[in-house]
Structure formats: structure tokens, C-alpha cells
Symmetry: C2
Subunit: 637 residues, 2 copies
């Protein structure tokens, strides 16, 4: 009978060939939720086969990318002849749907853009070397022998060894016949030695981190296989100090508050890293690579630098291309000596999140087709161009797309309404929540979907006012501003009704207007129109999806054929993951950062007029949205 | 009337031209001791004129080197027409005679060997640059502008900026029109930025440090003028953990004891640095250069490295050529970010003190004359050669030459007997103490002088036994071993007699035998004899002088004409000072370290025989000392 090992926990059982693995797990008392009962529909029982071959009936239930990485739905998997190692994903992640979220982002990106085997070269590498044993008259100190072995093995001209490691060197040299594993970071001909360890089971893991103004997302990677092991998103604890970058910059004026902000974002990142590492039984010191991307202000705050000059004329940040600092110096809870890559910024408001995001688009290729990249977050950032030119700009959208600044807004996590239809006659909402549980709030994609459907069904006018002329139990006109009740108290997850107010709708309209008018100004700047665009890439933390039709209906996105749009999810995180793994992608990112011409919208003539014109649904100029009416409101999936 | 300013303290007085400065100081209530009453003999009233011209009557009372540096004897100085700034040296230093000691070492060295103006290039430099002010559309971050200015000013290809300085950069860039003073350390094309300061009165000071097994000596330098400002020697606090390197290595076996030893030597160095800096009103952060030399074990202990393998076959130290570490990392109380030079070692027992010492000899020149360098300390180290070959070896002399392992031995400081004659008839001693105060102990040069005179006067035999056959109040045969009373209790400084025992004399004989036999083996190794030597350089902390005749009389040094000997004092400290100031001397030292062939005496056949033969006064082979008898015992000066 094959032996099945479940991890974490190393729980072992022997069962007959053909036994469902879910049964084996139950016999061991492991709680793996499989709510759909083996139909392979809910995706909740995702596990990973780390060794051995299981009998998994996919039938198209799981994306091939995941299956290639060893993921299976345990409810559709049976024991084969061989012993198996099964990795159970942490229940917490599953509950919040985080693993699925991040994994699915991967398949949103054109495979040709992802790192391939020849590109795989992290910043920090592990190399096994054998140190020549001390011999009388060889004239070499322990350090000399290390330098000899390390330069020859790593191709560096010299080494740099921290004092702490020099102290351990005499013992290391004389153990295991001088065989040691060096963790090193090579730069400008110097191999900076980060660790010297006995040969053995050292793991090599890495983290890709997206530091958003509102949320922080971390992916844990196995650097040997290149696989994503786990991923999680959480709020950036800095939100307590201001909802957008400008309020953070204001908050950061005093030194002790800068320290507070620095600690808060570290708390968020380190909190997730701790969870992810624990779920895989990984020690923090085994995490030897890190690639971070964030906007310019987030990077300054992480580094503890006063971001004041980002928002003061002439808008000069302290740093665009961030040097490699030690993780310990930055305050990241990974191997303290390892070096951290931080994605380069382009301007005060076009940051490393954008240069990371661009790696997920054809703007990172030799293509001559004109493309537009839009990263929709608390700030909206746009890059337009092709292999010959690149211009970038930013606008302040506010946190509405991330569920912020909306009374009942929330991040795209369990209980968030992510899609909402509106009945043309009764005005009642039909909605879908993440995790299929009673709703407790609404996320960005839910807001876009609801606004589009309210507008299309006639319950919301072009100026963002709810229709008070018709009777509907869904519209509450009691307060100063009218409210639209999506879910009454009795259907909600916490006994309180879930609604949006006209103020919320106004915030959303302002947000979409900021982004759309930025698109217009950018195109006008190069004498082009929307018809010249071959592709529009949309990035952002919208949870599982962004409905293009809904986005066009409200005038957030231009009225182009659906085939020209590509939603690429959290591209900042995916770009960070690419640069974590691949030198080619790091080089490409550095090149992109240098190539982008930054346009400051605040000094751009006509931007305010464009913005004002866009403060309607979909726009004051109906000719810009000729097919808007044909985009029939679709039922929520 | 000219204004006279006394520092430290900025005490100011106006006096008539021609007024003795001592009178001005007295009017201000400053206590400057001038015990010889203006005869210019005692040297106690040394001060320094830092600006203006005083009327100083030298008449050969002060070495010209000191006078050139502005030093005067205040008792022989009058106010001139101009205002004067007078620097009063700290009373503590004067009392201990330390300033005189270190200054006088300088004149022991051939001037051609000292750094000249074109060589003056410290490791860490200060460069004033003007940072381009931020301008719209220049596409440069603050860091980019710093890099641009710094690389162009320092000739480096790139810069490395610590995170702490990056945090201060935005403010610095925008002050004083962007003019900043960079403190930087250039290595392998990178300018490592150590500090960024507003232009102003930043001083630039440096320390040269000799870390001996028994004593630690520090010189404080003004890096702008190259002048020695002050100097002080103290015990190495590690002596509490063992008198010689072997006992230190044994003590260091446990990690917490290595930490203890590391802290002890730092305590000694930092204690002196604190005193020297305070005496000149210098902040620790203004000390931006440091050059240290010490033997291999001392360097390992300073770095906190287990020195165990230094004494175990095949005698392989962890490090010969020590990388530049940050002062803060090492624990030195100077500018924490500055880089510290540590002199390179050659072998387990031929360390950086020797490669520093060699810089004070013609072995550091293109001369083809065969020379022998002997550093006499707790360990005796020898280097033989010329511009074509260099061989080095070490022997354990024990601490006798530094006043250690001798019952009433002490360091060469106030109250130490440094020279002693013996009356041929009565056996009574006539002695000289440092500071001309009643004696409290005897230092190394005192021991050599006393032993030579006891032997020459017949009161000590060739085997080191005192003559018990004749009556003398100076010989006390009461105990197990006989004692020679140098000063009875009533003449001593602490009411106790100062004496040496036969055990002390035996220790001294073993010490001189170790060194002399090492000389013999070295010469034999290259098929040479003493007659082939053009010069014998003797280094060591013997206080003010070493009497060559006395040293030959006891058989410590070979019987060569006096003109062939050169006593060069604490050459390790002086070499450290040269490498502190000059790149040419650092390069030369690195080259010397690579060129020296290390001979391990413990595996050298015949060394033990040679040693045993040398355990007599002057030697069992009288032919080796043909002129020994002619070296008449001279009166103590």
C-alpha cells in the first residue's frame, strides 16, 4: 500500500491504491474543505503533490499552469501505486481565496513574457565550493583560500566578507573537508558573501512583494524550481495614516512619523512573510531573495526617506534607482544579510510598480504596436508607447477602486460583493460575493459593476444621481444623500445592510474621470487617438476579474472592441516575481525605467478641462462612446 | 598690546610685547609646570603656538622637528608683536612624559623614509562638491545628482551610499546651494560615502595605533597638516587574561572570552583616543582615518576571530590581509562609518606590527645592503634581507623587555628605573628614573642596563647568579633566590624597596637568548654571518632609549660596531602613522607583506641548540663577542 505524507506536519498514512486522497486526509483528521463535494467546481480543496504521481481527474477543472506545478483538487484525486507527498495549503489562505487569486494572475500574462529557463538567475545565488585545506607553507590564510575558491566559482574578481562571517570562517574551513555553500550577491566584480553554510538541506526561497498604497501583496517562491509556493494580500497598515500618497506625504513630515510609517509597512510585509513561511515550514533565513515594487512614495516611506520633495515643485524624489540594501538594514524579516531589489521609479508618481507592471505587457518587447498600460489603484498610472517611445503619467484616482473612500467598501476578499446586476423594473440587486458567503461590503470590481448596471438600467443618471422618481425598496432617500441598498440587513453577513451612497458613486465617478482624462491627454500629446491603440493593458488589484463592458459603460475605459483589452491583474506583483527570478527581466526593467518620458499632468494644459468633461457617465462627449449602448449589461458570473 | 589666547578653554589676555608667556599663563590662573625654572632643561613646559609668531629662545633645547611644528618651551618664550594662539598640552600627558616619548620616536627614523608631500593621501578623504539643484525635467533624483558630482570629483566610477545618509540627502541637497563636504573611501572604482556634511569647520583627524601584546599606543594626527597632535601609551587591558600571545590564544578558546578580550583591547584603545581627543577638543566623529598595526594574534582578537589555528599546525591564521571594515563594526570610537586600515600580517607570528616596522628601515627601500630588523617585545620578530629577498621569523621572548614577568617590572613611564650603574666595589646601584622622581619599579631598558652593569662589575656571573661571596647591602640572600636591591625602601617612591631577583634575571636571560639565537638561525639559513650585516634596526617600546653597549654586553645584540645599530623606537606605531598618511607607504607595506618568506623556528633544526648556547652572559661561545670586554660600562645619562 502506498504511503501518503501530508505536509505541513509530516502526517503519514498507508492506504490502498485507488483510495480517494480526501478519505486519507479525513482518516488523519486533517480538515480540508471540499464544499462542492467532489465536483471540482469550487476549487477550495486545492493541494499540491510535491513528490510521487497521483491519479488526478482534471477534466479542465484546473488551469494547465497549475496542474503543471503539481496542484490538484484533492476531491478528484486518488492514491496511485507510488508513495505521495501532499502539501496542504494553509486554511487561512484558502478561506481568503488568496492562493487562487495570485495563481490566477499568472495565467493572465502572455507566456512569452514570463521568464524562461535561460533567464533564471536570481540576484542572490548559492554556490557550493570546496576550500583548499590549510597546508604548511602555502602562505594562504583562511580568507585567502575562501577568496580563491569563491572568485573561481562565481566569476567575481574579489570577495567582500562581513566581519561576522569572517569570525565563523576558521571553523567552516575545517569542517566537511572544506565544502561549504556560499550565498552571494555579485555586483561590479565583487562577490558579496552573505552566508557560509555547511552543505546540506539549505532551502533557497524568495519573495516578490507589491507595496501598494492600500494593500500589500507577497508571493513566496521556491528559487530552485521557480514555483510560487504561496501568496497573500493584506492591507498596508499605513492606511491608518492617510488613504492616499499625498496624505501619507503630509503625515510623514515629522521624523518620528516617518519612522511610524516605515514600521507600519514593514509590519504588513513581515506579517504576511511570517504566515507564508510558517505555512511551508520555512525559516526566515532561508529566504535569500527579495524583489519589491511600489510607487515612488511607498518606496521612500519603506526606506525611511522624507517624501516631501516628491510633491513639491520641481517634484524631485530622493531616489529613482534604489541601490541594493541589506534586508536587515531595511527591516525585512528574511535573511538579514541578503540584498533586496527594489524596482526603479521613473517620476514622482510613476514608480516601480509601473516599471514592474510593464514587464507583463508587450511594451517590454520589441513590438512596434502602440499599446496603453493603465494601472488602476489609489493612483492611476498610465504608460503609452511601443518599442520606440514610452511616455508615462499619473493621476490621483483615490482609493475607490480598492474599496477605499467608499462607505462600505472593502478589499477584494471573502464577503466582498464583486459583481452586481440591477433589475431594470424593481431596481433590486443580484450580486455575487467572493467566497459565496453573505455580503459584508463591496470591492472595486463590485463598485464598477454596480455603477454600470445602475446606469444601464436607468436607476442612475449620467451625473451620478439615483432615480428618486420611482418607487424601489432598494433606494433609500432618508438621509442627506440617497443610498442604494444592495443587500438588506437580513441577507448580509453581519446583520447590517450593504449599500452605496451617492457620495460613494461620486467618488467612483471622480476616480474614473481622472483616469480616462489622463488617457486622453497622453494620446493627444503624441497626436494619436484611441483608434491607434493595438492593446490596452489593465492592471490593478480588482480581485478575480474586471468586467471590461462594465468599465466601458461607466467611461473608465475607452470604447474599443473587447479584444483590444487585456486585464493582467496585480502586474506590479507579477513583475516583481519576474525580476525576482530573472536577470533578463531586471535588465529590461532598468532599461524601461530609463526610457520612459515622464509627463506631469498638473502642468499639462487642458487636463482639468478633460477631467471636468469626464465627470459624467460615460462622458459629456457621447461621440467618444459610440458603442456604449450596445454593451448589454451581463449577468454576474 | 598683543592678545594671547590659550587653548583648550579659549582663555584670553592682553599683555605687553616681551612679557614671558609663562607670566601670562599664570595671570590667567593656568597651571603650567616649569620645574627647571626656565632653564629649558626639563622639557615639562612644552606648548604649541598654533597661530602668530612668538619670541622663543631655543638654543638647541628642543629638537628642530618639534620646533618646526610650532612647539616651544613656554618658560623660554615671550610675547611678540602679533597676537598668539597657544595650545597647552594636557597635564596628564606631560606628567607621563608620553608626548615627548612619541615625538622623539619620529626623529629616530631616517627622514627619507617618512612620507613626503606627494605621498600624502589618506584612505578616507574629504571632498567638497556642489550638487546640481533639482530642476523640472532633468530626470535626476537627489541620489543621481550626488552620484554625478561625487564620481566626477573623486574619480570613482560609482558611489555607495549607506541608507542612513540617503535619508538625510534630500535636506542636504537643498541647503547651502547644494554645497556639501563628502567624506569618502574609494576602493575598486567605488566611492563609499561615509558622511555628507554642510561646508564649514569640519576637522579631519586620524589615529595611528600600535596594538602590542602588553601595551597599546595611539597617536592623534591632524590629517590636514600631517602633524602629530598628541600621543599616549597604556597597557593593553588584555594583560589580565595572559601575559603573552599563547596564553591569550588559550584564554580565547570560548566564545564569551573572545568577546571579553575584544572588549578589553577596545577599552584600552578607546580610552586613549578619548583622552587624546578631549585634550584637543576634538569630537570622535571628526576622526576619519585610522591605521592599526599589531601582531597576528592581536589582530584576530581585535576582530573577534578565534586565534586557535594560529598556534596549531599548520599555523594558518584566518586572515593575513585584513579587509577594510567600518570603525563602528570594529568597535572603535571614531567616526562609525569610516574605514579602518589594519596592517597586513605575514605569518602566525610575524604580524602587521612587523610590516609596519619595516617601513621605518632601509628594507623598505631599493637598497641592496643586507639589514636585520629586530622588534623586541613580548614576542621577538626578526626580518633579514634587502631589496632582493626578505625572510622573517619570530620567537617568544616573554614580556621581560616590557617590564612584564619581572617582579617589580613596569612599563616605561614615570617612576620607572630606566638605567642603572653598579659600583664595582660596594655593589651599590646608581640609577635614573623616568620623570626624575623616586623609583617605583624597573622598565625594560632598566633591566638591560642593570644586568649589563651587574655582569660587567662582577656582581653577576655568566649563568645569572648574584655573587653571594662578597658582602653588599645591595644583595639580599634571605629568600629562596637572591635579590639585588636597586633602591632601598627609604629612597623609593612608595616606601617599598625596588629590586630584581635571580628569577627576574633568569627571565631576562631567556628573553635575550631567544632573540639572539633566532638571529643566528636566520643568518645561517641564508649562509651569512653577522659580519655581512650593514645595519641592525632595533624596534621596541623601551621608553626613551636602548643602550646598545648594554645590550651587546648581555648578548642580546651581536657584537658589531655601534655605528651599525639603529634604535628606531616603537616602529610599529610609526609605520602605522606612515600608512595613515600615505598611499605610497600602504602600497609598500602590502608589497613587503607579500615578499617576506616566513620561517617557522619551531621546525628549524638546531634552533633549540642555539637557544641553549645563548642562555649565558653574553654567550657560551665567547668568540661571538670578541669586543664584549671593551664595551666599558657607561654612566647613566
Amino acid at each position: 500500500m502506498p504511503q501518503i505524507i501530508f505536509n505541513p506536519g509530516n502526517r503519514t498514512i498507508e492506504i490502498a491504491e485507488g483510495t480517494p486522497l480526501l478519505e486519507a486526509a479525513e482518516q488523519l483528521g486533517l480538515s480540508i474543505e471540499a464544499p462542492c463535494g467532489g465536483r471540482g467546481v469550487c476549487g477550495k480543496c486545492l493541494v499540491r503533490i510535491t513528490s510521487g504521481k497521483a491519479d488526478f481527474q482534471n477534466d479542465g477543472m484546473l488551469p494547465p499552469e497549475l496542474e503543471a506545478e503539481g496542484f490538484v483538487l484533492i476531491c478528484r484525486t486518488k492514491a496511485g501505486r507510488e508513495p505521495l507527498s501532499v502539501e496542504v495549503l494553509s486554511q487561512l489562505e484558502l478561506e481568503q481565496g488568496q492562493f487562487a487569486e495570485a495563481s490566477s494572475d499568472l495565467h493572465l500574462i502572455n507566456r512569452d513574457l514570463l521568464p524562461h529557463e535561460p533567464d533564471l538567475e536570481p540576484d542572490v545565488n548559492m554556490t557550493t565550493v570546496t576550500l583548499q585545506q590549510p597546508a604548511a607553507g602555502d602562505g594562504l590564510s583562511d580568507l585567502d583560500r575562501l577568496e580563491k575558491a569563491a572568485t573561481s566559482a562565481t566569476g567575481a574578481q574579489r570577495i567582500e566578507l562581513p566581519l561576522g562571517l569572517l569570525r565563523t570562517l576558521p571553523e567552516k574551513v575545517r569542517q566537511d573537508g572544506g565544502q561549504v555553500v556560499l550565498t552571494h550577491f555579485n555586483e561590479y566584480g565583487t562577490a558579496h558573501i552573505i552566508d557560509i553554510e555547511a552543505p546540506g538541506q539549505q532551502g533557497s526561497f524568495g519573495i516578490a512583494v507589491d507595496i501598494g498604497t492600500t494593500t500589500v501583496a507577497v508571493q513566496l517562491h521556491d528559487m530552485k524550481s521557480g514555483h510560487i509556493l504561496a501568496s497573500k494580500t493584506d492591507y498596508n497598515a499605513q492606511v491608518a495614516c492617510g488613504m492616499d500618497v499625498i496624505s501619507r506625504i503630509n503625515y510623514a513630515k515629522k521624523q518620528h512619523r516617518r519612522e511610524e510609517l516605515r514600521h507600519k509597512v514593514l509590519e504588513s510585509i513581515n506579517g504576511i512573510v511570517k504566515e507564508l513561511a510558517a505555512s511551508h515550514g520555512i525559516k526566515h533565513a532561508a529566504i535569500r531573495n527579495a524583489s519589491l515594487s511600489g510607487n515612488t512614495t511607498m518606496v521612500h516611506l519603506l526606506l525611511g526617506i522624507d517624501p516631501e520633495y516628491i510633491r513639491l515643485e520641481p517634484y524631485t524624489p530622493a531616489v529613482y534607482s534604489v541601490p541594493y540594501f541589506k534586508a536587515g538594514e531595511l527591516g525585512l524579516d528574511i535573511h538579514p544579510g541578503t540584498r533586496v531589489r527594489i524596482a526603479p521609479s521613473v517620476g514622482s508618481y510613476v514608480g516601480g510598480d509601473i516599471t514592474s507592471g510593464l514587464l507583463c505587457t508587450s511594451l517590454a518587447t520589441a513590438s512596434e504596436e502602440i499599446c496603453l498600460f493603465i494601472d488602476i489603484g489609489t493612483n492611476g498610472e498610465l504608460v503609452l508607447g511601443n518599442s520606440e517611445f514610452l511616455i508615462g503619467c499619473a493621476c490621483s484616482a483615490g482609493p475607490a477602486f480598492e474599496g477605499g473612500g467608499i462607505e462600505m467598501g472593502m478589499r477584494a476578499s471573502t464577503g466582498a460583493i464583486e459583481c452586481a446586476d440591477v433589475d431594470r423594473d424593481t431596481g433590486k440587486a443580484h450580486y455575487v460575493t467572493i467566497g459565496a458567503v453573505p455580503p459584508v461590503g463591496i470591492c472595486g470590481s463590485g463598485m464598477i459593476s454596480l455603477t454600470a448596471n445602475l446606469f444601464a438600467s436607468g436607476w442612475l443618471d449620467a451625473a451620478g444621481r439615483l432615480d428618486r422618481s420611482r418607487e424601489s425598496t432598494s433606494i433609500d432617500t432618508a438621509g442627506k444623500t440617497a443610498k442604494y441598498i444592495i443587500a438588506p440587513a437580513e441577507h448580509s453577513g453581519n446583520g447590517r445592510p450593504v449599500y452605496v451612497s451617492e457620495t460613494d458613486l461620486d467618488n467612483l465617478i471622480r476616480a474614473k474621470a481622472a483616469i480616462f482624462s489622463a488617457c486622453c491627454v497622453m494620446l493627444r500629446n503624441v497626436g494619436m487617438g484611441f483608434e491607434d491603440l493595438s492593446k490596452v493593458y489593465i492592471a490593478g488589484g480588482f480581485g478575480r476579474y474586471l468586467d471590461i463592458d462594465h468599465a466601458v459603460t461607466i467611461g473608465l475605459l475607452p470604447d474599443l472592441p473587447n479584444g483590444k483589452f487585456a486585464y493582467i491583474g496585480n502586474a506590479s506583483l507579477m513583475g516583481a516575481a519576474m525580476t525576482l527570478m530573472s536577470k533578463r527581466h531586471r535588465d529590461k526593467q532598468d532599461e524601461l525605467a530609463k526610457r520612459i518620458t515622464y509627463i506631469d499632468l498638473s502642468t499639462e494644459p487642458g487636463y482639468m478641462d478633460q477631467y471636468t468633461a469626464a465627470l459624467f457617465l460615460p462622458h459629456t462627449d457621447a461621440q467618444l462612446f459610440p458603442h456604449s449602448g450596445e454593451r448589454v449589461s451581463r449577468s454576474c458570473r
